[in-house]
Symmetry: C2
Subunit: 104 residues, 2 copies
């Protein structure tokens, strides 16, 4: 689908992509984590896209099996949500992934 193509394009062209909602604290946490480590992700706020927001959330669910936000991609690879991303960071694996993309 066209929406699916948009996602594939975005996650392949941007090292870090976060599908987020502006008023969601878990989304805020994952955005500020990347900010703290000096990485600027591409952020797509699903609540600011009108009716396309829920559609995009459904497409992401089909593609990744994850129906929740935040939905995080690194180097085109689906990482997971806030908890998954924080765990990776605490294990030191996040910075490793980012440096492999020349990012941190």
């Amino acid at each position: 689908s066209r929406l699916e193509e948009t996602v594939r394009k975005r996650v392949s062209e941007n090292p870090v992509v976060i599908y987020s909602k502006t008023w969601c604290s878990y989304s805020m946490e994952v955005k500020s984590l990347f900010k703290r480590i000096g990485v600027e992700p591409l952020v797509i706020e699903l609540d600011e896209l009108g009716p396309q927001g829920p559609q995009l959330q459904k497409v992401l669910e089909r593609m990744t099996g994850q129906c929740t936000v935040p939905n995080v991609f690194i180097g085109g690879k689906h990482i997971g949500g806030c908890t998954d991303t924080v765990k990776l960071y605490q294990k030191g694996e996040l910075t490793t992934m980012l440096s492999e993309l020349n990012m941190s």
Copy 2:
């Protein structure tokens, strides 16, 4: 207002009251915190109340200055959100408050 009266009644009649949203992870965290310490709060899910949900959220903002969820009351007193409640718990003050209400 009638809605304001409902809030006052609920927080005075119930030792722990949480205004929550079912799909919000911060709301889930604070609900499971109380569950872990063996306390059963009265939970009001604002997203399950139709148009009354946003109205209630506005009333809570007028009454407490807090426009966000989760919105937590203990012993009729406004505590704050998820972060505030977790901080109180980590300081040992939450269990103290609850035992003063014969609750923990």
